[in-house]
């Protein structure tokens, strides 16, 4: 068993998550895909930690989790807000970013 396996898996999951972000329109699902990407990153970090024999990678993964949690909190709040005002959770409900 070599670290490469874990890394490949992480890469695969990351790519899947990225595709999801690009393809899905439901903001919540998009958000979930982002989470998937973060988790893929965490997996790689954990694998690196074991590879190098120190805990810094795990620390990093820990921080990623914390920040992700914060992100989820704020992100979901934003989605709720958005839904309240637009009655939709679709990310391209309107081309909002265009003036």
């Amino acid at each position: 068993m070599s670290p490469e396996n874990y890394l490949h898996l992480a890469a695969l999951l990351f790519t899947i998550g990225a595709c999801g972000v690009l393809v899905r329109r439901n903001a919540i699902v998009v958000f979930m895909c982002v989470e998937l990407m973060l988790n893929a990153g965490n997996l790689a970090l954990v694998a690196f930690s074991r590879m190098h024999g120190n805990l810094d990678g795990q620390i990093m993964a820990f921080f990623v989790m914390v920040v992700a949690a914060a992100e989820v909190v704020v992100g979901l709040a934003i989605i709720v807000m958005l839904y309240r005002s637009r009655h939709s959770a679709s990310v391209d409900d309107a081309s909002l970013m265009k003036l």
Binding site: L9, F31, M32, F63
Partner: protein
């Protein structure tokens, strides 16, 4: 669980870990794919939760016991549940149409994903990834102790900052979702006046159900001419496409009653069985999903809503005249 941890603790990888990896990794990938491809957000969330649990196992296998537990408790347990709560709050369009609206988006996304994947894998291949050093030494005092000693020494500033970040996130989320009342509440009188002024819907909305034979909230009431009143059902249900159609039998009964009444009173029959949008569809639970799933659900219901609104003032006017 103990076998797994024991496996991971060893510096050299064992065949057991390989087996575990090759069994769990495909499931994790399948979960990821499911997250992306499932039409319903709830299903996506469940798939993601599955993937996360498997990842937690991988963490454990890699000697990150603390993280593995945290992954399950915090991530899968708390964060994903938060997702589900929000889904219940928001998830009216429970299913996402998979029809792409942006031109070339899917193609570009695929290209990007493919390119990114190839590049990542190429990068991994190029990097000199050695073998596992193993965490036996680092975890000698225990994984949690090791993490803690690092966290509270070298990474203490970052730790404090993330703490602040979390606090801010919590406050921010409360602030965002909290609706500040800028002006005072309208009194009932004012509300009533406003309603009269707008002239949209003066009397209370009609109650759901048909002739007390049904009192379910998902069945629209019938108007005097036999059409279902959209105002009588909760709009959220309508959004979700969970409105039950009025049964054909009930309509036929109504028509029969009308006919009999007409015969009794000796006047010409004016009421014909009304046509309905949902005539062709069977009025079952499964069938209710269909219009919504076709992606036109919103529009259709919107039209009905308009009809209902058009009827509203008429009815109100008649009532007022009486």
């Amino acid at each position: 669980m103990s076998t797994l941890t024991a496996l991971a603790a060893e510096t050299t990888t064992s065949g057991g870990e390989a087996a575990q990896f090759w069994i769990l990794a495909p499931i994790a990938v399948a979960g990821g794919l499911g997250t992306v491809l499932m039409r319903r957000a709830v299903h996506s969330a469940l798939c993601l939760a599955g993937t996360m649990v498997i990842l937690a196992l991988f963490y454990l296998a890699n000697g990150a016991y603390f993280l593995g537990v945290v992954q399950i408790v915090v991530y899968t347990g708390a964060v994903m549940m938060l997702f589900l709560f929000v889904l219940m709050l928001v998830g009216v369009s429970a299913a996402d149409s998979l029809k792409e609206t942006l031109k070339g988006q899917r193609l570009l996304a695929a290209a990007c994903g493919l390119g990114l994947g190839i590049l990542l894998i190429a990068g991994i291949g190029q990097a000199s990834v050695g073998s596992f050093t193993g965490l036996a030494e680092a975890n000698a005092d225990g994984n949690v102790q090791g993490l803690a000693s690092l966290l509270f020494t070298r990474y203490v500033v970052a730790f404090e900052v993330t703490g602040v970040l979390l606090t801010i996130a919590a406050v921010g989320a409360t602030l965002l979702t909290h609706r500040e009342r800028i002006e005072r509440n309208k009194t009932q009188r004012e509300q009533a006046e406003e309603r009269v002024r707008s002239g949209e819907q003066l009397p209370p909305l009609p109650a759901p159900g048909v002739y007390a034979r049904h009192n379910a909230v998902d069945i629209p009431a019938l108007l005097p001419d036999g059409r279902p009143s959209d105002l009588s059902v909760n709009p959220t249900l309508r959004e979700r496409g969970q409105v039950r159609e009025v049964h054909r039998q009930a309509l036929a009964d109504l028509a029969a009653i009308e006919r009999r009444t007409a015969e009794y009173q000796g006047r010409a029959v004016t009421v014909t069985p009304p046509r309905r949008a949902g005539d062709a569809a069977p009025a079952t639970d499964e069938g209710n999903d269909t219009p919504a799933a076709e992606g036109g659900g919103n529009g259709d219901h919107g039209d009905n809503g308009d009809n209902g609104r058009d009827n509203g003032p008429d009815a109100a006017g008649e009532e007022a005249r009486r």
